[in-house]
């Protein structure tokens, strides 16, 4: 009989909060009364953040100069066609009326340069760049990686190292900064160490463990547009060659937007007020795509470079929230009084 009883209620659903959909629930109703304090809080917080951002940004200085040389008055006009003018040099003078506190970041900038386009981005061989020697040599059209096409082999079918469009198009203008002190040019020391990502330098990109480095590159050719092979990128510092050359690493980190800057050097001590002269060895062609070349000096803070947009945005939204809370208050009162009036 006991069993029978059990059988009879065999199909009875479990009486649990979950199956009966009676889990304790919080049912917030978004209405004026509840959101007023929220809006006030958010508004105040945002205004606070906005002020902080705005003030910080105001205290930052940035100096940006175009040296493309499109206009005839530009000092680099003569160099603007690098096909005709090999190893052209020009210099840019500028004056600082107040101190640029250190560290000052020295950027080069390009506009209208689509590092982010698709075919360009994939045109590289990671195995090569991580120092795998197997990918240096020609091996039945398997290495280097086919993504490098057409910058994979030269006309003699020798593999290009580093292969691919991305490496091939590496920015190759170089800069020297001089401070004019009483008519004497005094070179400002530029710090090129640690300008790339730590992980790029230490983990992601590796040189083949061959000493000297140049032996690893036997049987390969340098990229078409390069003037020097990869193992001679920095003649001053042998450790800064190959795939872990800082400038190379900076270039290989593709920029997100077509108008970008890339870090060139760091000026640790800052730039005191005065006259400066920037000597440029002008190599990189940009006329072909209506591009511009720039240099920029900027000091940075916790929020990065100078950018007033975010601060203003916070201020606007914060104020908007406060206004909204007032509107809500009005609605709240209107709602609360109207049913009683009825």
């Amino acid at each position: 009989m006991q069993k029978k009883e059990n059988q009879e209620v065999e199909n009875r659903p479990d009486n649990t909060a979950f199956t009966q959909q009676r889990l304790p629930a919080w049912q917030p109703i978004l209405s004026a009364g509840i959101v007023i304090p929220l809006f006030v809080l958010v508004g105040l917080a945002f205004i606070g953040i906005g002020v902080a951002l705005f003030v910080t940004s105001r205290n930052l200085h940035v100096l940006e100069m175009d040296y493309t040389g499109v206009e005839k008055t530009s000092p680099c006009f003569s160099c603007s066609d690098p096909i005709k003018q090999k190893n052209c040099k020009c210099s840019l003078s500028f004056e600082l009326d107040k101190l640029f506190e250190g560290p000052v970041f020295f950027y080069y900038g390009l506009t209208n340069y689509f590092q982010n386009q698709r075919a360009y981005g994939v045109s590289k061989d990671y195995n090569q760049l991580s120092g795998d020697l197997d990918y240096f040599t020609f091996f039945f059209s398997i290495v280097p990686d086919s993504t490098c096409k057409p910058y994979r082999y030269d006309v003699n079918n020798k593999p290009i190292v580093p292969c691919g469009s991305l490496a091939n198009s590496m920015f190759n203008d170089t800069f020297n900064l001089y401070q004019m002190k009483n008519g004497v040019k005094e070179e400002v020391p530029l710090d090129g160490k640690g300008i790339s990502w730590w992980t790029d330098y230490n983990i992601k990109y590796r040189n083949p463990s061959v000493n000297p480095l140049r032996n690893a590159f036997n049987g390969t050719v340098k990229p078409l547009y390069w003037s020097k092979p990869a193992y001679e990128l920095d003649p001053t510092d042998t450790a800064n060659n190959g795939f872990i050359n800082q400038d190379f690493l900076v270039w290989m980190r593709r920029s997100a937007l077509p108008n970008f800057r890339k870090l060139y050097r760091r000026i640790t001590d800052g730039l005191p007020a005065g006259n400066y002269s920037l000597e440029i060895s002008y190599n990189y062609p940009v006329i072909a795509f209506d591009g511009k070349k720039k240099v920029a000096f900027s000091n940075v803070s916790w929020m990065g470079g100078k950018n007033e947009f975010l601060g203003i945005a916070y201020l606007v939204i914060g104020s908007l929230c406060l206004v909204m809370s007032v509107v809500m208050l009005i609605i709240y009162h209107w709602r609360n009084s109207s049913p009683d009036a009825n």
């Binding site: 029978k4 209620v9 199909n11 009875r12 659903p13 199956t19 959909q21 889990l23 304790p24 629930a25 919080w26 049912q27 978004l30 959101v35 958010v42 951002l53 950027y107 900038g109 340069y113 689509f114 590092q115 982010n116 386009q117 698709r118 075919a119 360009y120 981005g121 990671y126 096409k149 057409p150 469009s165 198009s169 992980t199 983990i203 992601k204 920029s255 997100a256 937007l257 077509p258 970008f260 800057r261 890339k262 006329i287 072909a288 795509f289 209506d290 929020m303 990065g304 470079g305 950018n307 947009f309 975010l310 945005a313 916070y314 939204i317 908007l320 809500m328 609605i331 709240y332 709602r335």
Partner: protein, 1212 residues
């Protein structure tokens, strides 16, 4: 197995094919061949009895399942896209990666299918392993074998209450008449017992140890003598097996219903495709312009392998396809899978609802259609059957009229009330094991006057005739209380239902399939022999009509007197049972029934054995049935007929000058009308005495009709009509069909919910109208338009000419007669009828046929473009159930046919209330919001990529790593919307039940409309603009790299999408919190882990680097806030300013339960005053449907008055 040449094998296989395909099947008994090799078996060509309902086999699962899945257009589309990835010119990043989503979705579906199939396999195995007894000539007895080992040509022994393993040919039964009874509920849903006879001409000698096969059984099927009735039971030759059984052959695949929401969804998917193409064309054009604008070839433009560049136009043509691949997520690949998952969840909750569980039958709601749950929330019209749906379909004899005199059985009424409380506690017939079915219910309190009348006379007068007719004229089967019918199938069926439920995507079909071999065996209905002594007693039995080779003459008429109280009646219809019980109460006890005889015990104690000459069974055209018997004493041929009053009244003999007969007829008619007004079901009883000659000539015709090959049905009916003439009226009965529990309340609530309730019944208008009042379908103040017309007279309802304007009268109810309905359904009146019906509060259609029911449903559904629901319990409702958008079956007294045809099966009508108002509303609002959200989610995410195209030369590049893009949809944002679709609750169940008006929000367009879809798409565009351009302006001109830029975008997108959902979620439970937080955590964990592990990944260490930068957080914070501000404000303002019922209800929901109830009451009374002037009636308690019926039956004058004073339309 000995060696056989391949050629011989092929020949053998071909021969087998021929044998199977032949119309005429020659079967040989397996006995002589027992133990021989397989290839020597004569019946080897036939398939074995094993049932296989599984779709797949282990070996071919993958190809078969893939083939199945690629039938879906959506899947093909996605596979096409995946293939497009491998076309080189399209320059997909990693084509392999693009395969992941489609593979995951295919795999998910395959796992689901495999799981279902495995369950089917398990249940098949269980079924195939059931034991049965097969005769073995070696063992010289019946040995136990498993079902699947039964072969064609075997002799099978089936015992009482066994389940029949295959289609069988009945050779022998333990019953002396060669009769057995079977129940076919698993096959056709009919719960009544059916008689089957052993094959005439087959003679079997049964001895203690051996079976001598006298006839070498060469049995031909399809020949007349072997038509259906002989096919089943007891000791048989198996002639059809497993897959060839009728049940398996009749099993069609499940029908596929598409919900309205899904249809609209598909339109929106097309919109999405158009949007995608627009975006791709923009991208492609942009790319062209970008290339054209370059003065010469820059360094960053990568030429083709051979060093030259494609022309801009060709390149932009390729970019079009690249864009499609990039932005393909806009067409929600996972939406279809998600919807299925959501519906599984919704159905899980529906089936687990305790309120939809019926204690008495131990039955929960069964959801058979799995893809129309949301339609439950949009119903506008309900078409209901009356008997068994609104009422209990448990008939109780109430009144009768004999020879023009009325016997009201007043005591009956009083006692019934006292018993009422007890009666409701009684278990329902079907599942009761301890209580004899209907015992308490059918206890008839005798009318003393009538009793005196019977006792007073000894001669066979009209009174005796009346009760004899009640006892004889039926198809009730008598069984012993001790050998009661065991519901063997009950447990098994329940098990299958369970399988079916927990296996939600499985379909009805499996149930039907399995039911195939489940025809249940019933014990023979004789008192002499028990089923078990078949082999031990060693008797050989003469089969009816066969050549005698009998060793044992079955005893006749020597049945020991069985105490009448222990008899148990099993009737096809509850009416019959009620009448037989009544006869028994008055002393006319139906003792036994065989095909040839009926034994009735008279009040005097004498037993009369009537020879049954013929039974003219009931059909819906004649609306009556007759039994032709030979009186044992007078040897007269007597025809007893019972049927619907109008079917009998027109056949009465017209006695010349015999006034008495006429008076009786008119008096009886009067009583009948009175009964009908009380809501009783009426039946007329008549008899006719035939002279022998008359019978002889008729019998010949009858034999012809029965033997006819063509047009048999019609001929049989004609022959019946021929003899059912010149009847002599004996009297009439009134049987009550009680209203089900809380039907009036349910009807009222459904109406308040804006649902029009129509009742379509086969009953008389008077009965229907009274039930209509009782269940509050009609109100006392209603204007009742009664449309009925005389036969064959043209009938044009001119309601438009009615002085009262229909539009201004609020409560119009329409009562339509079946005949009138036929005319109204004619093409020229159709539109006007629909127009009128639309203005009516309720419509009652009486005397309608099953076909008409479905026509009405179709008409309303198509003309008014509304969502319809049909609810019914009987076979006559099947058409209607299938015609409606949603068919609901009530598993009640009339078998399973309605349930099998239905989409949802409930056990009580009142469950409809919660099913529609709560679950329907929830399911609809959940699914609608989920789908909208899904479109939004994908659009918001994909648009980020689109905006980026403007900054990367439209080269179809992405600033987010491909893997992360795929994970974004697959992992980070997939679970929350599914949970949202399963578990969100906009308003609590109490509020939905308390305020039925809330249901109206789902009707018509509801929450998922053109408007809401585009609003959310616009929102998606806005949010993606914010999520893109705030970081853009922040990082513009800086040295940020591509993936470092993409990371905040992706993060903002995630937060926006999840917080958007949080705004939409109406009720937060721990599950919601857990899943939302879980998704965010998963995003960070996966992205961080991915950034560490993958050296090839260009975004190596990106998120890590970003997360130490405060700007990242500041950008994410403000972008998310700006993106969500408009929606948030919109919700706040909507909730604060407008006062939609849902919002009000949600406000009420937050109150304390007691104050909330107060509010609900106030709200309802306020609305009631406005809408429903009869709301004061609602204060009357209708907890007792009986009382309400009684009280209303007194006011039945009200009905007459109202229909008289108001205009009666028709018969113009």
């Amino acid at each position: 197995m000995p060696w056989m040449s391949p050629l011989a094998r092929i020949r053998d296989a071909l021969a087998g094919q021929r044998a199977r395909d032949k119309d005429l099947r020659n079967l040989v008994s397996n006995l002589p061949y027992e133990g021989l090799d397989k290839w020597k078996q004569p019946n080897r060509h036939f398939r074995n009895n094993g049932i296989k309902t599984t779709k797949y086999s282990v070996l071919f699962f993958i190809p078969m399942n893939l083939f199945e899945q690629f039938h879906r257009l959506a899947n093909l589309y996605f596979v096409g896209l995946a293939i497009l990835n491998f076309v080189p010119v399209v320059q997909a990043f990693e084509p392999e990666v693009a395969l992941i989503p489609i593979c995951v979705i295919l795999a998910l579906t395959a796992i689901k299918d495999a799981w279902e199939d495995f369950r089917r396999y398990k249940s098949d195995k269980k079924l195939n392993r059931l034991p049965c007894f097969v005769y073995s000539s070696k063992e010289k007895c019946f040995v136990e074998k498993r079902w699947k080992d039964v072969r064609v040509g075997d002799f099978v022994k089936v015992e009482s209450n066994d389940i029949v393993p295959a289609d069988l040919l009945l050779l022998y039964t333990s019953d002396p008449n060669g009769v057995c009874h079977i129940e076919t509920a698993n096959l056709d849903g009919e719960t009544n017992l059916k008689q089957r006879r052993a094959v005439p001409g087959v003679c079997i000698t049964v001895s203690n140890t051996d079976i001598l096969l006298i006839i070498h059984a060469v049995i031909r099927t399809g020949c007349l003598g072997f038509s259906h009735p002989d096919l089943v039971l007891k000791q048989h030759l198996v002639y059809l097996k497993g897959h060839e059984t009728k049940a398996m052959l009749n099993n069609n695949g499940p029908r596929y219903k598409r919900s309205r929401l899904e249809r609209r969804l598909n339109i929106d998917v097309i919109f999405c495709i158009l949007l995608l193409f627009t975006m791709c064309i923009i991208g492609s054009l942009g790319h062209y312009l970008w290339l054209e604008s370059m003065p010469s070839v820059p360094l960053y433009l990568v030429p083709q392998t051979d060093g030259h560049l494609d022309t801009p136009s060709l390149s932009s043509f390729y970019k079009f396809f690249s864009m499609i691949i990039l932005l393909q997520v806009l067409i929600p690949i996972s939406l279809y899978v998600s919807i299925e998952l959501v519906k599984i969840g919704q159905i899980y909750f529906i089936t687990n609802d305790l309120d939809l569980y019926d204690e008495e039958t131990d039955a929960t709601i069964q959801c058979k259609a799995l893809n129309i749950t949301e339609d439950l929330g949009q119903i506008q019209y309900i078409f209901s059957d009356k008997t068994g749906t609104l009422t209990e379909n448990k008939m109780v004899f109430r009144r009768c009229s004999i020879m023009g005199r009325e016997y009201p059985h007043k005591e009956n009424e009083c006692v019934r009330r006292a018993l009422k409380m007890y009666i409701y506690k009684i278990k329902i017939l079907m599942f009761t094991k301890s209580l004899p079915p209907n015992q308490q219910e059918t206890e008839v309190i005798l009318d003393q006057k009538l009793l005196r009348q019977i006792r007073g006379t000894e001669k066979i007068d009209a009174y005796q005739d009346f009760f004899l007719a009640l006892a004889i004229c039926n198809t009730v089967v008598v069984s012993m209380a001790t050998a009661k019918r065991l519901r063997v199938s009950a447990r098994l069926t329940a098990e299958f239902q369970q399988t079916n439920q927990s296996n939600p995507l499985d379909t009805l079909s499996s149930l039907v399939r399995r039911a195939g071999s489940w025809t249940r065996l019933r014990a023979p209905i004789t008192s002499e022999t028990s089923a078990n002594d078949l082999t031990t007693q060693g008797q050989s039995v003469n089969q009816t009509g066969g050549q005698t080779c009998s060793l044992h003459v079955p005893p006749q008429g020597t049945a020991p007197a069985v105490p009448a109280g222990k008899l148990c009646y099993e009737a096809e219809s509850p009416d019959e049972a009620a009448l037989v019980h009544t006869a028994k109460a008055y002393g006319f006890v139906l003792m036994s029934r065989t095909p040839d005889s009926v034994t009735v015990q008279l009040p005097s104690g004498a037993q009369l054995r009537f020879e049954v000459l013929d039974t003219l069974s009931f059909d819906s055209n004649r609306k009556r049935m007759s039994v032709l018997v030979r009186h044992p004493i007078s040897k007269q041929c007597i025809l007893y007929t019972k049927g619907a009053d109008y079917a009998i009244m027109e056949l009465l003999e017209t006695p010349y000058g015999e006034k008495q007969q006429k008076a009786i007829a008119s008096d009886t008619q009067q009583h009948l009308d009175c009964y009908a007004k009380e809501g009783l079901r009426t039946l007329c009883i008549a008899k006719k005495v035939l002279c022998d000659g008359e019978y002889e000539s008729w019998a010949v015709q009858r034999q012809h009709a029965l033997a006819a090959m063509d047009n048999r049905e019609q001929l049989i009916m004609d022959s019946a009509v021929q003899i059912e003439t010149n009847l002599c009226l004996l009297g009439a009965t009134g049987v009550e069909d009680r209203l089900q529990d809380s039907v009036p309340d349910t009807v009222m609530t459904l109406r308040e919910a804006g649902i029009q309730v129509w009742v379509l019944t086969g009953d008389k208008p008077e009965t229907a109208v009274n039930i209509g009042y009782a269940c509050r379908l009609l109100e006392q103040d209603d204007l009742v338009i009664n449309m009925s017309c005389k036969r064959n007279s043209p009938c044009i309802p001119r309601y438009s000419e009615d002085p009262r304007n229909v539009d201004t009268t609020p409560d119009i109810s329409l009562v339509i007669d079946g005949r009138t309905l036929t005319m109204l359904m004619s093409p020229d009146l159709r539109d006007r009828f629909v127009d009128l019906a639309r203005h009516c509060r309720s419509v009652l259609c009486c005397r309608v046929t099953p076909l008409q029911k479905s026509e009405v449903v179709k008409l309303i559904r198509e003309k008014l473009k509304v969502m319809t629901l049909a609810v019914g319990d009987g076979a006559n409702d099947v058409n209607m159930i299938q015609a409606a958008d949603i068919g609901v079956g009530i598993s009640g007294q009339e078998g399973m046919q309605a349930v099998m045809a239905s989409d949802f099966a409930i056990s009580r009508f009142k469950h409809l209330k919660k099913l529609l108002l709560v679950h329907g509303h929830w399911c609809y609002s959940r699914l609608a919001n989920m789908i909208i959200y899904f479109f939004y989610k994908n659009a918001a995410n994909v648009n980020l990529l689109f905006w980026y195209q403007f900054f990367c030369g439209f080269t179809a590049n992405a600033m987010i790593d491909h893997w992360l893009m795929i994970f974004f949809n697959l992992l980070f944002t997939s679970v929350p919307p599914i949970m949202f679709g399963i578990m969100d609750k906009d308003v609590s169940a109490e509020m939905l039940l308390g305020l039925p008006e809330l249901y109206r929000t789902g009707q018509g367009k509801g929450e998922y409309s053109f408007f809401t879809f585009w609003i959310s798409m616009l929102d998606a565009f806005y949010q993606s603009l914010v999520a893109f351009f705030i970081p853009y302006f922040t990082y513009r001109g800086s040295d940020i790299d591509i993936y470092a830029f993409g990371t905040p975008l992706n993060t903002i997108s995630l937060f926006t999408i999840l917080l958007h959902l949080s705004i939409e979620i109406k009720a937060w439970t721990i599950v919601h919190v857990f899943i939302i937080l879980g998704s965010v955590t998963l995003y960070f964990i996966v992205t961080l882990a991915y950034g560490v592990r993958y050296l090839n990944y260009s975004g190596y260490w990106t998120l890590q680097a970003q997360m130490v930068d405060p700007m990242f957080y500041l950008v994410c914070l403000i972008s998310t806030v700006i993106a969500l501000l408009p929606r948030y404000l919109f919700h706040v303002l909507k909730n604060s300013i407008t006062c939609s019922p849902i919002v009000e209800a949600r406000h009420l929901d937050t109150l304390e339960p007691s104050t909330r109830d107060q509010w609900i009451k106030e709200w309802r009374s306020f609305r009631g005053r406005v809408q429903d002037k009869t709301s004061d009636v609602s204060s009357v308690s209708y907890a007792d449907p009986k009382a309400s019926l009684a009280s209303l039956s007194y006011s039945s004058n009200g009905y007459i008055r109202s229909s008289d004073s108001n205009k009666t339309i028709g018969a113009l």
